[in-house]
Amino acid sequence: MERAAPRLVRAQPLLRMADVSKRYGDVVALEHVSAEVYPGEVLGIVGESGSGKSTLLRMMNLEELPDEGRYSLDLPGVPEHLFAMDGYARRMLRARHIGIVYQNPHLGLLMKNSSSGNVAERLLVAGERRFSVLREKAKQSLEASEFPLERMDAPPIELSGGMQQRVQLAKAIALEPAVLLLDEPTTGLDVSVQALVLDTLKRLQRERRITMVIVSHDLGVIRTMADRVMVMRRGRVVEAGLVDQVFQDPQAAYTQALVHAKL
């Protein structure tokens, strides 16, 4: 499927998060974090364990609210302050416009339903009520995620980790979301499977120009996937910029240590 070019040239960010802070008791999970993602772009987020990457992604998915901060998505008919919407509106917006792939497939999938059913659920939430259409669209989505169609009715619990991530991906893209959030989508997969899943993501990105935010502690994943990168530590953004720039010429001491440890 071809996306029209104007999405690329529009100068307005699609996703904008400003000054977001969140604490859990004494733990500061996010501190004055701001992020912008432009249409068709892939933003990578790296950082050590506990640096707040998943928390930030959960905010972007409107699963959780911050203590302070603002969030907007530049979509027609969507209010300007997403955190200010009531719970129902947030859930509906999430169902309609945001796709997410969790590191742990148990968070994103109904393990005992069929894989195709997991994808169909997204379409059902959006109001599709024709069985034949659900089936066809689930099939298309699974195919786009390079999931073997002969297993489309197998429950995820019977599938390998890589296959489960493909089901999550198919589910996330079924409604053509405005933004696709990926939280460590390949962590825990062996290297060859990881490469295959990344290939699928790259192909999807190339063909559909899906706007993505991908979280990983693996610099290699970020380097292959992302256009821009945000480095996080202890709930703060320590550095942000174009991937090549940040990785070749890191400014912050922390990023330098991170890049050199990796190389």
């Binding site: 069929s114 195709s116 059913g117």
Partner: protein, 299 residues
């Protein structure tokens, strides 16, 4: 004037067994349930002299509604010494002085475990269903707080997902009893445990239906003239049980819901599930107006 003339004689139990405050709560909850059709209302659920799970919810509703002018019919299976239609009926009559009947047409209150009678109910009749599992979302969402949220959002996609899975696995919708249905275009209820055959009888019906679960302590209602729509896919129509062609081996009745009675030789006999209807037909009496004719529903 003496104290005697100002007080009532002592009685071993209140009229209708439940005490006045219990009945007041039931009445309030029933009214709320009628005000928001299909929405589950929590209630205290008092002790009655049968075990939880054996129809205590329905019994509490009936005991609240009953009065000396009522005529009560009870539908359940079996007539042995345990809890069944006969013993529940006797109990209601004993504590309320109400008359009892087997005949749907005569009854003013019909308490039922698993069926809606085959004869049409009227505006002056109340159907009380004993419900084991009032929460339609339970099979798809074990967390009841989340389920409440889903009801509030009218977020029922997972109910269709359940049907999707059945079609994928078995080629058709397998849901038999308790078919999830949308009430008044807003709340999904489980009309448990009546068969699919009986669900259309609740749609735009003249009578009030109260569904009450004593063990789960919740009740809900379908008021008269309220839409009850079984959940279906736009391209997979709702189908009732295929009983139109079966004949009752005792009464010769046809075109109504049948119980299957397996025989030793592997075949099955069928008998009309609404047994009093079968008795009427055997005695050559004319039944009341029927919901189905020749196995086809006609509202």
């Amino acid at each position: 004037m003496s104290l005697d003339t100002l007080t009532r004689p002592w009685k071993a139990f209140s009229y209708g067994f439940l005490d006045a405050s219990a009945k007041r709560e039931m009445r309030r909850k029933i009214l709320k349930a009628i005000a928001v059709p299909g929405c589950q209302m929590p209630y205290a659920s008092r002790e009655v002299p049968i075990a939880r799970g054996w129809g205590t919810g329905g019994l509490q509703a009936t005991l609240t509604l009953v009065n000396p002018g009522s005529v009560v019919k009870v539908i359940d299976q079996g007539a042995d010494d345990s809890v069944n239609a006969a013993s529940i009926r006797r109990f209601i009559a004993r504590v309320s002085g109400a008359a009892t009947t087997l005949d749907t047409v005569q009854a003013t209150i019909i308490q039922s475990r698993h069926r809606v009678p085959e004869e049409k109910l009227r505006a002056d009749q109340v159907l009380v269903l004993q419900v084991p599992n009032p929460e339609p979302l339970r099979p798809v969402e074990p967390n009841m707080s989340v389920a409440r949220q889903m009801h509030a959002d009218a977020d029922y996609g997972r109910m269709w997902l359940q049907l999707y899975e059945q079609i994928v696995r078995s080629g058709r919708v397998m849901q038999g009893a308790s078919y999830p249905s949308l009430v008044n275009g807003r709340h999904v209820m489980t009309p448990s445990p009546i068969p699919r055959w009986d669900v259309p009888k609740l749609n735009m019906a003249k009578h009030l239906t109260i569904l009450s679960a004593g063990r789960e302590k919740r009740l809900f209602a379908v008021p008269p003239f309220t839409r009850v729509e079984p959940l279906v896919f736009d391209d997979v129509p709702y189908r009732v049980e295929d009983h139109a062609g079966l004949t009752c081996h005792r009464s010769g009745a046809r075109g109504v819901f049948m119980n299957e009675i397996p025989q030793e030789d592997g075949t099955s006999l069928h008998e009309v599930s609404d047994s009093q209807l079968g008795v009427k037909l055997l005695n050559g009496e004319a039944p009341g107006e029927m919901w189905y004719r020749d196995g086809v529903f006609r509202p």
